[in-house]
Symmetry: none
Subunit: 162 residues, 4 copies
DNA sequence: TTTT
DNA sequence: TTTT
């Protein structure tokens, strides 16, 4: 019976995405992700970066255009898709195969401080709510803060998990 | 030996994220994801939505502030994190447990047409490159298009995988 | 658009699987997995076990019988399936929900030295190497079967997890 | 920051696993998984098999011996591990890379009727139910061992995948 | 309780 | 090059 080959990878774009169109007018974007596993070195007793995986990705239609507009070299993204084998001929004429990712979902990671895109307007047309500046003020909104730590309860002050 | 419980889910926020701070000043954002499995109904011979999973999520520090600023009700996101069991007392005083997701990575999905946030500037400070217009024009850029479909090669016109 | 909620977890069975049959004769096995995340404690500078996640799992048809025959308390397994929300009434009559895993694939982990099951016979017919000890008879155990379908029936009256 | 590149794949072994030892005596098993995505053909209105992905896998130590004893050509398995890029020289002397899977967990799928291995003995010491047919002797097979470590040695000279 |  |  058939299998499901969907996987998820987190990594950074090694270059800007390349946007193209098929002859029938369908958009396709290609980009390469570098994904660097974190490994704990028992000898050195510290975290080190492992060897990076470079994974070629492709994405289609609207998503391709979104990717080309929203992502650039260095962006950290989460991608979900299917591993696919592609055949090609090298310069010597030998048949070769490579493994790539057919992306179904991709999103820019919101993990770090610089990653604060504007809110997206989901209404028809795709305009976005006006914003004067508003990035990264990064300070507690008084009301919320007070309201929350005033109570006894809710989340305790335990350290976060990572 | 210990296990790794990292999972990835795609879904939509059922409400705006709630941003709070611990007493020590650490930001935490909470939100609930609705993830609706797509199932193929053999009787009706068509795709249908399955029953949604509602998964409570929490995220910490900078990422919490990014989430609060960037995401809102309805947003489609990819989240990666660890399933966690939380204990609490219900109104009758019974000990209960719930399963939640401790989010490590989250990104707004770029899958659909309206999802086109501006490019994020990765330089220190987080300002973003000026842009005159540039959103969603969604048309082939002449040079690229021509250069690509002119050749015989590159990607062929096969239908996309999904 | 709908989402795909398939996840994979590695863990150990906290008890032997429970095998039952629906009134229509379909086998279902239930078991609970304990999955213990490994975390690196920066203070102590060592690996520690995090808090275990206990995840209720169900699996159907042939796979249910395989699970009941092959797995027992303590077994380390890899499971792949969909997170599902289940509604039930607690003793006070309140509507509650729990999150469980609808298992699509499960296999006993071959990671450690003791995990060496016999090779499986893949030939048509499915006979397998003779076994004295009475596993694998593949028939409803009278007590369980009766006890369960005697009730008003169906699968939906199972007790909530934990 | 580093990423986590753990993925899970379900597939079938295209051949028996190959078991070898490094010069330092560490076991390593290699096998190739075929993972065939199931796709729904809207034209034909039916499920079809997509194009298979062939993924080269390696696994180490005890797990390698377990794999060699328990799995054979055709076996359906669940594997979890990290995608890794490997460099090698092709016959023309060109530097090439391939993507493989460093397996951390693997288990034979219990999904189908024929997949019913005996229960595994989990007691200290790792003895297992008596077996007449000679699986699981757990010792290096002379020929393989010799043939492999006789060469100049180490694991790194293995031929590239496919 | 969300959703192209 | 596998496969309920």
């Amino acid at each position: 019976m058939a299998n499901d080959t969907v996987i998820t990878i987190v990594g950074n774009l090694v270059a800007d995405p390349e946007l193209r169109w098929t002859q029938s007018g369908m958009a396709v974007a290609n980009f390469t992700l570098a994904s660097t596993p974190r490994t704990f070195d028992r000898q050195a007793n510290e975290w080190k970066d492992g060897e990076a995986l470079f994974l070629r990705c492709s994405i289609w239609r609207d998503a391709a255009e979104n990717v080309a507009e929203s992502l650039e070299k260095g962006a950290r993204v989460i991608v979900q898709g299917r591993l696919k084998q592609r055949s090609y001929q090298d310069r010597e004429g030998n048949q070769r195969t490579s493994i790539e990712l057919d992306v179904e979902e991709v999103g820019p990671s919101l993990r770090y401080a610089t990653a604060r895109p504007q809110k997206v307007d989901r209404r028809q047309g795709g305009q976005r709510a006006p914003q004067q500046q508003g990035y990264g003020q990064g300070q507690p909104q008084q009301g919320q803060h007070a309201g929350w730590t005033d109570q006894q309860g809710g989340y305790d002050d335990t350290p976060p998990p990572f």
